[in-house]
Amino acid sequence: MSRKEILENIARNKPSGEYKLPDLTIRPQEGKVDELFEEMMPKVSAKFEKAKDYSAVAEIIRKHFPGDIRIVNLIEKVKIPGINVSKLKNIKELNLLDLAIIKGDLAVAENGAIWVSDQNLPHRILPFICENLILVIDKKNIVNNMHEVYRLQNNLDYNYGVFIAGPSKTADIEQSLVVGAQGPRNMLVILVENQA
């Protein structure tokens, strides 16, 4: 049917010239990746903090969110109590969740993007449905650019994964940037210098 017809059309019509795939080696940008990454944070409207280790991470989080709020914390090493998501009957109960604390696997210096995948997520909706999002990354997991990050992930086994660069935003009304569109309205990135 249509599958066959489309494929036959393509086979008949496709250009006959030989077009080779390009070489993908691209020079990385100069500078230390952690410094470059930090520079990107305000540019993607994310707040940024450094923690010397994971116990310091918890302190930073308490400082930013002192009140009694609904939290989902997906990082065991961060001692902050929260909702047990495995007990949720319906993910819609997470609507208006105040804070999600999630581990990022890799971070990209050139654009501030952080990779989060369902290897770390019991529910894909978690980084999106919270009003505030905290992504925690280890300093050693910052890479230079997008080429490098995709190369490193080559054999990565995930079902869903996303690069997140800042809180959700829009400029659809007269080009004015508004932070907080359909996803989180605030994002804090915590860089852990010593992950032990």
Binding site: I10, N13, P15, K92, N95, I125, N159, A165, D172, A181
Partner: protein
């Protein structure tokens, strides 16, 4: 009947204040794009590579589609093939009906716009909510998008405020974009929580892994697909790339070209359905396979829909996207539309100065201005123009369709683009675009010039 861009833009130009505002808003985005491109020393290299990846994929598209399908099926995804818009709509309708879907949330997709999916589903009693803010605004206003990245760029905040007040009873006269965006967030969140299915477009599809990649700033594609049990991704067959590694090139260029951001806030990779969820991919041809055979035009399939060629185009900026009356406006729209229906869109390739700025900013190096020129020749030679138009178009095609003249014209525009400060050059082109008499002026002088040369 479709109105011509000439008549439509005359109406648009009548409101001078709005025209100037529209022009400036887009120029601002163009400048942000320039800064972003300049921040990457290897930008030109990336453009070369992006173009090469696309040409390679397109010239082996059947194999890559088969590979993609195989891997997507292995991932537990259902794959459908649609030869045209009608079949695409029917497939989606059937999937939705079989799940008794009453309400769908949709994130931005020019393809579903091209196929007119919304009216089709609505006629079958399925409610469709567009969830990108700009798209939601124009959906409420019952208008088509005027730009492929910023669909509501033609509207002022006062108009959005008025619209929201009327539809959602928001505070009258509150024109603050922060307030308005928040009100839309509240309304859309309710829709996300009550939708039975989510539909998204696709920016890139990877043959090697069978995954689809969707880029948004608002997070709407993710909120939609992760809550609703059923997710459908509609994609044109030209979205394919061979390997995951090639995503590096395109994700570095897309947002920088589109809005000047270093990357979109979300670059989401969907490989397998979520737990207890169902995932479908609809592959759509709609004359794309036919275009592959057109030697002069097949490379327009490289387009990654960044919108940069619109933001830079003096005609687009001063005509507005709606003047084109085509799904995709601007320079790229003017070379895409005639592929779908040459007669209907025969005026669009003439709505250009051939200045070449579109080709200069295009991240995948489509020779847009040259293709505009080729279309002029083809249209001038063919019998697709109505008689009244034909005479004047023929003259234009004769003049602007002459390689020597065209080269000269292109060269001059290119030089002025590079040399003049933007204010002067903008002014020049603006006057050009604003004053229809000026449209004839270069024609005359080039004719004279050409006549002299022939003697």
């Amino acid at each position: 009947m479709r109105g011509s861009i000439k008549d439509n833009s005359e109406v648009f130009l009548k409101n001078e204040e709005r025209t100037n505002w529209h022009d400036k808003a887009l120029w601002f985005v163009r400048e942000k794009r320039d800064l972003a491109a300049k921040s990457i020393p290897e930008w030109e290299q990336l453009r070369e590579k992006a173009s090469a990846v696309k040409m390679h994929t397109l010239s082996n598209l059947d194999q890559y589609l088969i590979e993609f399908e195989e891997n997507a099926l292995k991932n537990g995804v259902k794959v459908h093939w649609a030869k045209d818009g009608e079949e695409h709509n029917r497939i989606i309708e059937e999937i939705l009906q079989s799940h008794q879907v009453k309400k769908v949330v949709k994130s931005k997709s020019m393809l579903t716009e091209e196929c007119h999916l919304n009216p089709h589903l609505e006629s079958k009693g399925i409610e469709v909510i567009d969830t990108d803010l700009g798209e939601r605004i124009i959906q409420l206003k019952k208008e088509p998008p005027s730009h492929i990245v910023m669909p509501a760029i033609h509207l002022k905040k006062e108009e959005v405020s008025e619209l929201f007040h009327e539809k959602w009873n928001t505070e009258k006269g509150n024109n603050d974009p922060v307030y308005l965006t928040y009100q839309a967030r509240l309304s859309l969140r309710k829709d996300f929580l009550t939708a039975d299915a989510a539909i998204t477009g696709v920016n890139f599809a990877v043959a090697e892994t069978g995954e689809v990649v969707v880029c948004t700033n608002e997070g709407n594609a993710d909120v939609g697909t992760h809550i609703a049990p059923l997710q459908i991704h509609s994609m044109g067959i030209e979205k394919l790339i061979p390997q995951r590694e090639h995503l590096g090139i395109f994700t570095r260029m897309l947002a920088r070209s589109a809005t000047g951001q270093p990357v979109t806030v979300y670059t989401s990779h969907f490989r397998k359905p979520k737990k207890e969820g169902e995932m479908h991919i609809v592959l759509v041809d709609n004359k794309r396979s036919e275009r592959l055979s057109k030697e002069k035009y097949w490379t327009s399939l490289k387009c990654i829909r960044c919108g940069a060629c619109m933001n830079t185009c003096p005609i687009y900026r001063r005509s507005g996207g709606h003047s084109y009356e085509a799904t995709i406006p601007g320079p790229i729209g003017s070379i895409l539309a005639p592929n779908l229906d040459t007669e209907k869109y025969s005026d669009l390739p003439f709505a250009s100065t051939l200045c070449g700025s579109c080709s200069d900013v295009c991240p995948v190096k489509i020779n847009i201005h040259e293709q505009l020129f080729f279309w002029r020749q083809d249209i001038g030679r063919s019998n697709v123009l109505p008689k009244s138009k034909k005479i004047s178009m023929k003259i234009m095609a004769g003049v602007l369709g002459n390689p020597a003249v065209y080269k000269m014209f292109g060269k001059m525009m290119r030089i002025s683009l590079k040399l003049l400060p933007s204010s002067i050059f903008e002014n020049k082109l603006n006057t050009w675009a604003k004053n229809r008499k000026m449209m004839e002026a270069p024609k005359e002088s080039f004719q004279e010039w050409y006549q002299k040369r022939k003697k």
